[in-house]
Symmetry: C3
Subunit: 151 residues, 3 copies
Amino acid sequence: MAELMENQVFMAFTTYAAIVVLKMVLMGPLTAYFRITRGSFANEEDVSGKSEEQKKKLLRTHPDVERVRRCHLNDLENVVPFVLVGLLYALTGPELSTALLHFRIFTGCRIFHTIAYVSVLPQPSRGLSYIVGMLVIISMAYRVLSAVLLL
Amino acid sequence: MAELMENQVFMAFTTYAAIVVLKMVLMGPLTAYFRITRGSFANEEDVSGKSEEQKKKLLRTHPDVERVRRCHLNDLENVVPFVLVGLLYALTGPELSTALLHFRIFTGCRIFHTIAYVSVLPQPSRGLSYIVGMLVIISMAYRVLSAVLLL
Amino acid sequence: MAELMENQVFMAFTTYAAIVVLKMVLMGPLTAYFRITRGSFANEEDVSGKSEEQKKKLLRTHPDVERVRRCHLNDLENVVPFVLVGLLYALTGPELSTALLHFRIFTGCRIFHTIAYVSVLPQPSRGLSYIVGMLVIISMAYRVLSAVLLL
C-alpha cells in the first residue's frame, strides 16, 4: 500500500483530486451563504419560528441560489468523473509530465468555471472551461481504454 | 492486490464506504415509493393508460417527493466526496483508531441526516449532521494533502 | 502498482468503469444540444446579445431539456455508485466470470436506460433497466461486505 503512495503520478493524482473534491464540497456552504443572504430556503423546517407571511416569502426560489446550485451540480457531473477516471488513469502508469498536464489543466478549468459561473462572467468563459475540462476526462479515458481493454 | 484487503484501515474504509453508498442508492426506491403513494410523476410514459385529466394531476410535483429528491442530491454531494477522499486517506496509512473515528462519525451523520430530512425533524438536527459530515471530509482531505503533496 | 493492472478482474473493471463514466460525461454535450435546438437556456449570460423579448422566451424550461437532465442525474445516482462499489468489489478478488457478468449487465442496463429515457420508450423498459442496474450494485456491495467487514 505504501508503494502506491511512493509513486509520483499517484501522488500528483492524489493532490489534485483532493483539491478539486474539496472545492466541490465547499459549494455546499456557498449555497447556504446565498440562501441566507438572499432569503431563499427549500424546507419548511428551515424557516420555523417566522410568521406565515414571512415563511411564504422565504420559501421562494432565488436566481442567485439556483445559479450556485447549478454550478454545484455541474461540479458533480465533471469533478466526480475526473477523480474516477483519473484514478484508473494514474494506475496505467502514464508519464509524470503528461499526467501533471492533465491534472493541472482540469483543476485550473474547474476553479475558473466556478468563478465564471458564480460571478456571471460573459460567455464563452464558462462554456470553454467546461469543454476543456471535459476533454481532459475524455483524453484520460481514451488512455485508460487503450492501455487496458478487457471486455 | 490481496495485500490491500489485508490492511485494517483499508478494510474499515471498504466497510463504511459500502454502507453509505448502499444507503445512498436506496434513496432511489424511496423516491419511487413517494412518487407512487403521493401520485407525482415526472415523465409522461410513467402515467400512460390514464385519462388526460388524471395525467395532468399525476404529472404535478409533490413537496414530499421533492424533499426526498433534495435528500438524495445532498447524499450525492457528500457521500461521493467522502468515498473519493476516504480512499486516498486510507492509502496514506493513518492510525486505525483515527480512521475508524472519521468513518464512524461520517456514517452516523449521514444516516441521521436522511432520517432528519425525510421525517422533517426540526432544525438544527439536519444542519448539524450535514456540517459534521462535511468536517470529516475536510479533515481527511487535510490529512491527504499534508501527507502527499505533489503539485 | 503495475500488479493491479495485470489482474484480469481489475482490468475488466477498469474497462467497464471507463465506458460507463464516459457515457455519463457525454450527457453534458447532449444537454447542450437539446438546449440549443429547443431554445431553452438556464443562464442569462447564455442568451446575451438578444432582444429582451427573445431572452424571455429562451430562458424558459423545455420538457425535452428537463428529460435529458433527469437522465443525467439518474446516471450520477447509479453510475457513480457502480464505479465506487465496483472498485472495492474488484479488490476483493471475485471470479473473473462472475465479475464480468456484473459489469456487463450493469453497462448494458445503463446504455439501454439512456436510450429508453431520451427516446421516450414506453414503460417498463426504463424502469426495468434502472432496477436491474441497481440490483447489480447491491449484489456487489453484498459481496464486498461479506468478504470484508470491519466495523
